[in-house]
Symmetry: C2
Subunit: 360 residues, 2 copies
């Protein structure tokens, strides 16, 4: 088992990474000194595959789990769904020492985390991410929240889990498209922080796409390490943490104007990263060779690397970007790369240049 520590003082926690970890969920929760009652929040895709095993493990360790299943998909990241979860927790008398287990992908983790952050002013929660995207990204670092009609993740909190348990076995049953979308965030870590990781991904892509357990374990652990390092330095995104948003400003806007669902998050981010790489070439001198390596690795992973937008949709994209949480005084700030492995945040980008890069 690989263990990555997220160093946040009294809010520190561990990320455990191994195959067949779900069977240890109850035992690991036991070590945290939590109350007996808990709620597993999961979705209609994951529940039939994994919820019974999670419940068995918790019950065997002496916990009394309640199961709350929400519809799979981004639409469950809504205030209405949050309210339903609250009502279930209250109806089953979950108290302050109770805890929430998020069993699923990013949507479930974000929703369940926000519920845990705000029910009774905050109860403990444990992340059991079951997708690659959630294992390397959304389950670590404490960003939880839901969407508003006006934009993605506009409501939420910084609220750290007490434990993250990455069961690598769950990755074996992921649909191909979702697995590849998760790799977009893996590639992002290479670009923003770790050139050797990027080279490894270039070199071992076939093994990764074949879901080779050994390579996957190493790669997931390395991504978690990077995220833990970044979050440990800047929990609430007042500075460095912004680098994790490489490709996300445009990516989020693409998700927004296409109505959340046409593109998976990782797919939108892939397009956003290629655009950000091109902006980086114009503004920070990223070499044409590295722009091409970024594009090529994403394309080889089977991810979209460009989007055809009408003039109307380019305008809508611009509007959507202005709602990004990183906007300050009306100015959109980008994360741009100087080279693979080294990025800078807070970069101003003229709107015309964004337009040009997207039209290319």
């Amino acid at each position: 088992m690989r263990v990555v520590k997220v160093p946040l003082g009294s809010r520190s926690y561990s990320i455990l990474i191994a195959p067949a970890l779900l069977e240890r969920l109850g035992a690991e929760c036991r070590k945290l000194g939590l109350g007996q009652r808990c709620a597993i929040i999961t979705d209609t895709n994951v529940a039939p595959l994994l919820a019974a095993r999670a419940e068995e493990s918790l019950t065997a360790a002496g916990f009394a789990p309640l199961r709350i299943t929400v519809p799979a998909g981004e639409k469950s990241k809504s205030i209405a769904r949050v309210q339903e979860c609250y009502q279930q927790l209250a109806a089953h008398r979950l108290e302050r020492k109770a805890f929430v287990v998020a069993l699923g992908g990013g949507v479930v983790g974000d929703l369940a985390g926000f519920v845990a952050a705000t029910y009774l002013r905050g109860i403990a929660f444990v992340q059991v991410p079951t997708t690659l995207l959630a294992q390397v990204d959304s389950s670590v670092g404490g960003k939880v929240g839901v969407n508003l009609p006006a934009g993605k993740n506009l409501v939420g909190a910084f609220y750290q889990p007490r434990l993250v348990l990455c069961d690598l076995a769950a990755l074996q049953s992921l649909p191909e498209r979702e697995f590849r979308a998760g790799l977009a965030e893996v590639i992002k870590y290479g670009i923003i922080y770790d050139a050797p990781l990027f080279r490894r991904l270039e070199r071992e892509l076939p093994k990764i796409l074949a879901r080779d357990a050994g390579v996957l374990a190493a790669v997931v652990a390395r991504c978690c390490e990077i995220k833990a390092e970044v979050v440990g330095q800047d929990e609430t995104e007042s500075g460095l943490r912004a680098i994790l948003n490489f490709g996300h400003t445009i990516g989020h806007a693409i998700e927004a104007i296409s109505g959340y669902g046409k593109f998976l998050h990782g797919e939108a981010i892939a397009i956003g990263m290629v655009a950000a790489a091109r902006l980086s070439a114009s503004l920070l001198g990223l070499s044409a060779d590295e722009v091409e390596r970024i594009r090529a690795l994403l394309a080889a992973t089977g991810l979209p690397v460009a989007i055809k937008l009408s003039r109307t949709n380019r305008t809508r994209l611009g509007e959507a970007m202005k709602l990004d949480k990183k906007v300050s005084a009306g100015e959109i700030k980008f994360v741009l790369a100087r080279k693979i492995g080294a990025v800078e945040y807070g970069q101003k980008v003229p709107a015309a240049l964004i337009d040009m890069v997207l039209a290319a």
Copy 2:
């Protein structure tokens, strides 16, 4: 001007107490280095009296305030109202550096604070409490949140304001009943922490009821000091902070079973405090004389000190108490008094005794 500091490390803030402070709102916000845009969240009672002055002060200091007015009353502490506030903030493009001003009583402060705590994962907020209850209690300490159909304050966060501005002039226009209800919490501070304050309240009650500015200023400041000391030692209610809930376990339950609205919070708490004093006599040896002094001071303030409950309603009250956030492993824990000025939290009370005390 009196200044009380709430010592919470990087989340420390000041409570300013003086007449005519509303005119200084803009200037005081200026000192905090907040963004230009802000939202004043207020209610239909307070808006016609004070919102224009708050806006003028903010505008004169260079801020661009948006006004959000919610219906007066406890019903506005709902998820639906939170969602409406989010949508307004998003529609007006409030960014992370924007801030929320809560202008009103406890309901407005709790609602606006929760909105601020969760919009964009948290933006700054400033409390401008306009009722006695809010000035001495709810605006200080960072408890924010809303109600669920299942119970009061079941959703929320610990989220500290950046500034609390108590304009004593606002107290002069409070309806009599509301002013007296606020005094219940003032009396509570005497019981839980400060026997000399309790004696002062006994002695100077006529002046206080006449809203003598000098006495009120001193009393409000002392209550804020006590709350700041307690919260400074235990921000998230893992221990000592529980003493602030003297009278609240039964009080909250009375509010719940009477459908939030029949009793003002302070009135329900007054009944709860007399009941808690009687329980204290049975369990912690509080003297009969002091039980009577507590009852007499509340009664002289014009507050209810007992409630007539049918057997059915006593059962409902018991059920409602079990939903209290301080319940642990199904056990309701009370704050009880050893003497006036000294209480103990985490006290177990047999259900039969509660029943007996309420039937008395």
